[in-house]
C-alpha cells in the first residue's frame, strides 16, 4: 500500500459541495462514492444528483425499520445504495440540481447517468479500509462530527471522541503519513475526508483526521459501491 494516497490528484473527486441547512449528508456521501467508482471504471468524472436521493429515496434498513432515508431528516448511505440498485441508477447533478429541501420526486429513468450494480460494507479494519480505498476509489464513511462544529484546520486527533455516536456521513478520498500530532509525540498518519459544508469550512472543505485509532468511529460504517455506466 502506498504511504500517501489521494484520489483528488487522480481526478476522481468532484468539487466540495454544500448541503445547506438540511440533514442530507448521507446523500452527499453516497454520490461521492458513486462518482468515484464511476471514475475508476470509466475514467470520467461526472457530478451526480443528491437531490434525486433527497426527493425519491425512502429506503429503510432491513434490520432496523426505524432507520430510513428521509430527505433532510437524515438517512444511511447503504440504504441509498439499495434504493439506487432498485431505482435503476442516478441522474447527473445538472439534470436534477440540488435545492436543499425535500420536493416531489422528479426522477426520470431515461436520464440515468450511472447505475449501481452492487455495494459492500468494508470490515472494521484500518488496513482493509486503506486497501479498499486504493482499489475501489473514495469510500462512504460515517463519523461522529462532535469536533467538526469548531474545526478550522490541521490534523484532528481528539483525546476522547465516541466511536458509537456516528451522526455524519462523509467521503474518504485519501490518506497521508505526515500529519504531526503533538500529544502522540510523532508524525501521525491521517485520513483525508471530503465534507459537504462548502469550501469555506475546515481545510478548503476537507477534514483531516488521524488514523490508527478508529477515531470518532471512522472505521465503523465504511462502504464501497460498484457501478456501471448507463447505456
Amino acid at each position: 500500500l502506498p504511504k500517501d494516497f489521494d484520489w483528488r490528484e487522480k481526478g476522481a473527486v468532484t468539487e466540495v459541495k454544500d448541503q445547506g441547512a438540511c440533514g442530507s449528508c448521507w446523500a452527499f456521501s453516497t454520490t461521492g462514492a458513486v462518482e468515484g467508482a464511476n471514475f475508476v471504471s470509466t475514467g470520467k468524472l461526472v457530478s451526480l444528483s443528491e437531490q434525486q436521493l433527497v426527493d425519491c429515496d425512502k429506503a429503510c434498513d432491513p434490520k432496523d425499520k426505524k432507520a430510513c432515508d428521509n430527505g433532510c431528516g437524515g438517512g444511511l448511505m447503504t440504504n441509498a445504495y439499495e434504493y439506487l440498485e432498485k431505482a435503476g441508477g442516478l441522474e447527473e447533478e445538472k439534470s436534477y440540481p440540488y435545492t436543499g429541501k425535500r420536493g416531489h420526486c422528479k426522477f426520470d429513468p431515461k436520464k440515468v447517468a450511472v447505475k449501481v450494480l452492487n455495494f459492500t460494507n468494508i470490515p472494521l479494519d484500518e488496513d482493509q479500509i486503506t486497501a479498499r480505498l486504493v482499489q475501489h476509489g473514495p469510500l462512504s464513511v460515517g463519523i461522529n462530527a462532535v469536533f467538526m462544529q469548531t474545526y478550522i484546520g490541521g490534523v484532528s486527533c481528539p483525546l476522547i471522541c465516541s466511536k458509537k455516536r456516528l451522526n455524519h456521513g462523509v467521503l474518504l478520498v485519501g490518506y497521508g503519513s505526515k500529519g504531526f500530532s503533538i500529544l502522540r509525540l510523532s508524525n501521525k498518519p491521517y485520513w483525508i475526508i471530503k465534507n459537504s459544508w462548502g469550501k469555506k469550512w475546515g481545510d478548503n472543505g476537507y477534514y483531516k483526521l488521524c488514523r490508527g485509532h478508529d477515531m470518532c468511529g471512522i472505521n465503523s460504517m465504511a462502504s464501497a459501491v460498484l457501478t456501471q455506466v448507463s447505456s
Binding site: G23, L76, M77, Q128, F147, T150, K164
Partner: protein, 111 residues
Amino acid sequence: LEDLTIRQVTEDRLPNLLGTHTERKFRVFMSDYGKSYSTREEYIHRLGIFAKNVLKAAEHQMMDPTAVHGVTQFSDLTEEEFKRMYTGVVDVDRGHGGVVGAEAPQLDIKG
C-alpha cells in the same frame, strides 16, 4: 395574602454580553459569514449561543491540540441545531458494523 407569585431575585446566568469583546467578535463573525437576525431578541439569543461556542472551541482546542479549532459558520448554532441541520446519518443499531448488504472479503495486504 401577599401576592404569592415567585419573583426572580438572581441575575441571569449569562452576563449581559452587549458592548463586550465577545459582541465585537460576534459582529466580525456576522460579517464574515453574511449572517443577519430578524429581531433584537434573536440577535441577543444568538450572541449568547456564540459566546458558549467560543468557549466550546477553546475546550475542543485543549482536547484536540493538533487541529485548529475556533469560530466557524456554525458558531451561532446550538449543538442540537448543528446536528439536526448539518449532519444527517440516522442512528441505527450498528451491531457488528455494516448494516445493509454483504461485507467485503478480506484483501491480502501483506508486502
